[in-house]
């Protein structure tokens, strides 16, 4: 029936409502409704239909039940955890007395009474059901209240059978439990829905159990489902005999059922002939139910449409006292009450149905032959009324049909097609209580998809966007525009033409480009010299297997004619990420292959990656690849990286390891600093910079964007353009320590990605490593400054040494001398002198002495890693080292070995300092030449030694006795354990002459020992004193000879 029978509409609870029931008292019919505004309203159906306020409360009321004995009253379930009762005072409705029947631990969702008036049942969100004798209403004594707490989720609805022996309850945990009222035990448990939810608001349907009674034996339970495995919403009906799914009632034939929306509620008519269910789209669908000895058939009788009023949340039936006709009331979510006062329905009978082939879901026997997943009649044998219901289900069923119907029922649950009937379905036939797995696997994070750094996600993810940014970095912006196609292709879908627009930040690099993109490029990268685009196929039409991924490279400033070249990836591969460096291009494809091309198109290397690629970035001669090596963990993506050096058409693996990002975060951007150290940014806004050393990369957290960016929610959406050297060279002012800055853009309020038109303004920030106890943000502590200066300039640089001096001064002033000493040990010689002077000025003699000893140790101590560096030009040294060593990792200040060979080639005779950064290796072969000793130092040492030792003996002394030199400056030397032979430079000829001569005894005493035997042999008769006199004479003569 398409036209609605006459009905009336009222607006009652405007805030939404809970439920409604019909009630008839003393020959008059009333309709009671309760709502979320806390009110109960009464509609007098016999007279003027004007809603009267029966009760005004404040908490949300969920359901009503009426009691007529002992006194007429209304029970209502309230959100304030109580079940109330008010009496109905017919003379004056507003005057009533309220009583709390029972209390729960959380909101009471449902209340019902059985038709005999003996029991009251109420269910609440604390998972319990309380069964209360109805006599408890009026007594003030204690009464026994039975608690049924089998459910594991809030109880949604309750229903008694007409004889009151069975209570049916449904809850959010998806189960329908049938209880025996007298014994309060669980008779049966049916799993109706699989996802378990714990909150009423999450379960979108009120999983209502509506019980009806057909005959004395059989009750039917109808539970509307909204999360059903099948796609069309239905109302499954179970039989209470064997808890067997009789039918799934749908509103229409299969093709149309979606139009009615999901079912929210259902109710049986009082005579159990009809079942009404309300849907989300405002339809009320009524089926009539007829049972005969063998079959139960449901037939859709009518659809009442109220699409304008919103979804129907509750329906109720009543029988008019006056007319004896059926009444139906339905409540909608928007607060409308639709009342049908006299509903004319024709019940269907089995005979009438047998020959009809309409679009109703049950067409008896014939449906079984077709593939009809809606086949819905079942054979139930009813052998009189004295059967134990459970046993009959096993014994008395006919052989084939239950299994067939069971299979079909099981099929319906699983949508196994008809022709697979013979495949055994291993499913429990009746009870579908799902068992929990014994071991719960830890849920792990979703694997991050591959992405191109500094780009927007592809079109498919941003709906409705007309343009997507393929690359937004320091060089420029590459935008792909979607324009409606000028032609319609053969396929149904409309093609889009894509236009690539390239705009450079610095117009001097190149003029803006506009390229037509017939290949639908999806990734791109832009450098100063080239634009690389990659993509395959049609984004709208399903990818043809023949579509090959194309890499297109445009070269700017090409001196030969070829401005553009293409490379096609092999079939089946798709380019996921691109990277470009000084003279190479890297393409990562989804078949885990990394391909390297030269800028002019020669392919020169391939690499198979150990896992699915996440991202890649390149700069200069460095390339970093991030991939998923393993499965993700509960709290981390568990990604690994390869750091490669690419130059001169060669690929070298520098380091590999696990990528260090914060827990529970994803990689957002990857790139390099201007010194080619890798940098990563994760979705929580933490920026980490890697320092490459011989064993791998160690990552240091350098910046936390969540503290910099004002709107914290944008930290995972900001797009880093790149890291460049600072705009302004850091001058002598205190503030700037870093020579690098990070440029990024932030999306404006409310949008997902930064807007492209107009261009967003670029924000700039420098490193701010999270050191402890920084007074205010923005002001760097001294330790931070030292860290940053070593990071940016190297440990040997002037800036770092100055920061160290500041730390030393701070420590010395504040009295922590040991700390000052530790810091002082890191200073180079020149600054150590300053430190000594400083400490002496502060009259810290102990500190001065210790610094002194450090000074000497540093002066004469030479290890393999000793090196002299021009203190005035540290960056020169670093750049020289970089230039010299292309293949070894560049380290800002960590390793000094690279400097050694570099500096050796640049002899500097200027003011140079001895410097040793690494502690002396005692096992090292100590024959390193002291090649860069400054002439000044040597000559100074020489002159001092000469003066102190009287000139004659000094020369030979210096060669192998370092003790004397240290004695000149301090009383003892703590660290000077390693002594090396000093190699002379050509400037010190006297040294050379000394070395060339034989080693002679230095003192008279030694000489005497040597010559004594000879003397004694010569002059045996002389006494010792005379011998000594002779010896002294000879000694003087010898010395005169030498000098």
């Amino acid at each position: 029936m398409d036209t609605n029978p006459p009905y009336e509409e009222f607006v009652t609870h405007s805030e939404g409502f809970g439920g409604c029931i019909f009630f008839s008292l003393l020959g008059r019919d009333y309709l009671l409704s309760c709502g979320s505004d806390g009110d109960i309203r009464l509609l007098d159906l016999s007279g003027e239909k004007e809603p009267i306020d029966l009760y005004i409360g404040s908490s949300h009321l969920y359901q009503l039940a009426c009691v007529s004995e002992p006194t007429a009253g209304v029970l209502f379930a309230c959100e304030d955890n109580s079940l109330y009762w008010i009496n109905l005072n017919l003379n004056d409705f507003s005057k009533h007395t309220r009583k709390i029947i029972t209390r729960f631990a959380s909101a009471v969702y449902c209340v019902t009474t059985d038709s005999s008036g003996r029991w009251i049942a109420a269910g609440a969100a604390d998972f319990t059901i309380k069964l209360i004798p109805a006599s408890a209403i009026l007594t003030t004594n204690q009464y026994t209240c039975h608690v049924l707490d089998t459910h594991s989720a809030p109880v949604l609805s309750l229903s008694f059978s007409s004889d009151g022996l069975i209570l049916c309850s449904t809850s959010c945990d998806g189960h329908l439990i049938v209880w025996c009222t007298n014994s309060r035990t669980v008779k049966h448990k049916i799993s109706v829905l699989s996802p378990k939810v714990s909150d009423l608001s999450l379960s979108s349907s009120r999983l209502v159990a509506a019980l009806s009674c057909m005959t004395a034996d059989i009750c039917f339970m109808a539970t509307p489902q909204s999360f059903s495995e099948e796609e069309c919403p239905s109302v499954p009906v179970y039989s209470s005999l064997d808890y067997h799914l009789i039918d799934r009632l749908v509103s229409n034939s299969t093709t149309d059922s979606r139009s009615s929306g999901t079912f929210h509620c259902c109710a049986w008519s009082p005579d159990s002939l009809y079942l009404a269910a309300g849907t989300a789209l405002g339809h009320i669908i009524i089926w009539s139910c007829s049972v005969d000895d063998t079959r139960v058939i449901f037939k859709r009788v009518s659809i009442l449409r109220h699409t304008l009023r919103g979804d129907i949340i509750s329906v109720a039936w009543g029988v008019s006292n006056i007319t004896g006709k059926l009444m139906l009331a339905a409540f909608t979510k928007s607060g409308y009450l639709i009342l049908y006062e006299s509903l004319e329905l024709t019940p269907c009978t089995i005979q009438a149905n047998a020959n009809q082939l309409d679009d109703s879901l049950l067409d008896g026997l014939q449906a079984a032959d077709l593939f009809d997943s809606q086949e819905s009649h079942s054979n139930i044998q009813v052998n009189g009324s004295n059967i134990n219901m459970e046993e009959s289900s096993l014994d008395s069923k006919p052989q084939t049909s239950p299994t067939k119907t069971d299979r079909k029922a099981a099929k319906k649950r699983k949508f196994v097609p008809e022709w697979e009937e013979d495949i055994a379905i291993i499913e429990p036939e009746y009870s579908q209580s799902c068992s929990e797995p014994v071991i719960q696997p830890e849920p792990s994070l979703l694997r991050q998809e591959s992405f191109q750094p500094s780009s927007w996600p592809p079109f498919s993810q941003i709906t409705g966007s007309e343009h997507v940014c393929l690359c937004y970095n320091l060089v420029g912006v590459v935008i792909s525009h979607k324009a409606p196609g000028a032609f319609e292709a053969e396929s149904e879908n409309k093609h889009f033409n894509f236009l690539i627009e390239v705009e450079f930040h610095d117009r001097g690099v190149h003029h803006p480009l506009q390229l037509i993109d017939p290949h639908w490029f999806s990734v791109g990268v832009l450098t100063d010299e080239l634009l690389v685009l990659g993509g395959s196929g049609n984004r709208n039409v399903k990818k043809q297997p023949k579509d090959q991924c194309l890499i297109q490279v445009h070269r700017f400033n090409a001196w030969d004619g070829s401005k553009e070249w293409n490379a096609q990836l092999p079939e089946g591969e798709n380019a996921l990420c691109l990277a470009a460096g000084r003279d190479w291009i890297a393409v990562v494809s989804d078949s885990l292959i990394l391909r390297l091309f030269g800028t002019e198109g020669t392919q020169f290397d391939l690499l198979k990656m150990p896992g699915y690629p996440v991202s890649t970035a390149g700069r200069g001669s460095r390339l970093i690849l991030v991939y998923h090596q393993n499965c993700t963990l509960k709290d981390s993506q568990n990604m690994s990286y390869y750091l490669l050096a690419v130059s001169g058409m060669k690929l070298v693996l520098l380091a590999e390891g696990t990528l260090v990002i914060s827990l529970n975060s994803e990689l957002r951007w990857i790139g390099f600093t201007s010194a080619e150290s890798p940098v990563i940014l994760d979705s929580l806004g933490h920026l980490e910079v890697g320092r490459v050393n011989s064993r791998g990369v160690i990552w240091a957290p350098m910046l936390d964007f969540s503290k910099t960016v004002r709107k914290k929610r944008n930290t995972h959406k900001l797009v880093i353009l790149g890291i460049t050297p600072c705009l302004v060279e850091p001058t002598e002012d205190e503030e700037s320590v870093c020579n690098e800055e990070i440029r990024y853009i932030v999306p404006s309020h409310g949008s997902h990605y930064p807007s492209l038109y107009p261009r967003p303004s670029v924000q700039v920030v420098t490193y701010n490593p999270p050191f402890c106890s920084v007074a205010t943000s923005g002001v760097l502590s001294l330790e931070q400054r030292y860290f940053l200066s070593t990071f940016c300039y190297g440990q040997v640089a002037k800036q770092s040494q100055e920061e160290l001096m500041r730390l030393f001064a701070l420590a010395a002033r504040s009295g922590s001398f040991q700390r000052a000493l530790e810091v002082g040990a890191l200073l180079n010689q020149q600054y150590k002198q300053l430190a000594i002077t400083y400490s002496s000025r502060l009259q810290l003699s102990m500190l001065g002495q210790k610094m002194n000893s450090l000074l000497d140790a540093g002066r004469v101590e030479i290890t393999d890693t000793a090196v002299t560096i021009d203190s005035e030009d540290p960056s020169f040294a670093i750049s020289q080292a970089e230039h010299e060593l292309k293949d070894s990792p560049l380290v800002p200040g960590e390793e000094i070995a690279p400097f050694l060979s570099a500096i050796r080639t640049n002899s500097t005779n200027r003011d140079s300092n001895l410097f040793s950064s690494a502690p002396a290796n005692p096992f090292k072969n100590q024959k390193a030449p002291f090649s860069r000793a400054s002439s000044i130092d040597n000559s100074f040492i020489k002159s001092v030694i000469q003066k102190s030792l009287g000139g004659k003996h000094t020369l030979s002394n210096v060669t192998d006795n370092k003790q004397q030199t240290s004695d000149l400056f301090s009383k003892q030397s703590k660290l000077g354990e390693t002594r090396h032979p000093v190699k002379q430079t050509e400037a010190n000829k006297s040294f050379n002459s000394v070395e060339s001569s034989k080693p002679k005894p230095n003192t008279f005493k030694d000489w005497l020992e040597q010559t004594m035997p000879q003397l004694e042999a010569d002059n045996p008769t002389l006494k010792k004193t005379e011998l000594i006199q002779i010896a002294t004479k000879k000694w003087r003569e010898e010395k005169r000879e030498i000098s």
């Binding site: 117009r507 001097g508 303004s761 670029v762 700039v764």
Partner: protein, 181 residues
Amino acid sequence: MSDSPKITPADLDYLAMNEVIFILPGFSLGRITLILGDFGPFVPSIATKAPLWFALYLKERKLCQIQVPSWLTCEWLETKRNEERSDPDGPLHPIHLHYMEISSILLNHASDDIPQAEEIRTLIKDIWDMRMSKLRRSISIMIKEQHVHAQVKNISYMELFCIRPHLCNSLFLIDHIQKAS
């Protein structure tokens, strides 16, 4: 008639050009020294201050993108307009003294950098109309009641330029007539 030097709207535009605004340069240049002061260094796509005349010069050559000053946005102008509208007989509310000139220059030369340019045009016109009507009304009151001196606050240069001939000439004529009689 007065022999005061004739000032023209072009002169007012010229004076307004000294306004310093933010641009996103499309080139790189070090610090430059202008009469107005030091500007730069200019780095591509980093917002830098520059005088308006310089910005327009660059804009013509497509070397920069102009960032709209904060008072030339729809929201700010709407609040201004509502303020003026709510107070029809009151004083003039503070506004940028060169608002008329700068907005016309920017809308003519750099309208693609201004979001919602058309609404801004209408808003400026509305504000102009309201302010001019307030001025005219107060002038007529002043003349009728033969006040000797008046004080005006927050009058912008363009409004002053428009009012000056009326006021001066009319007062001159009144004086002439009074002397004659």
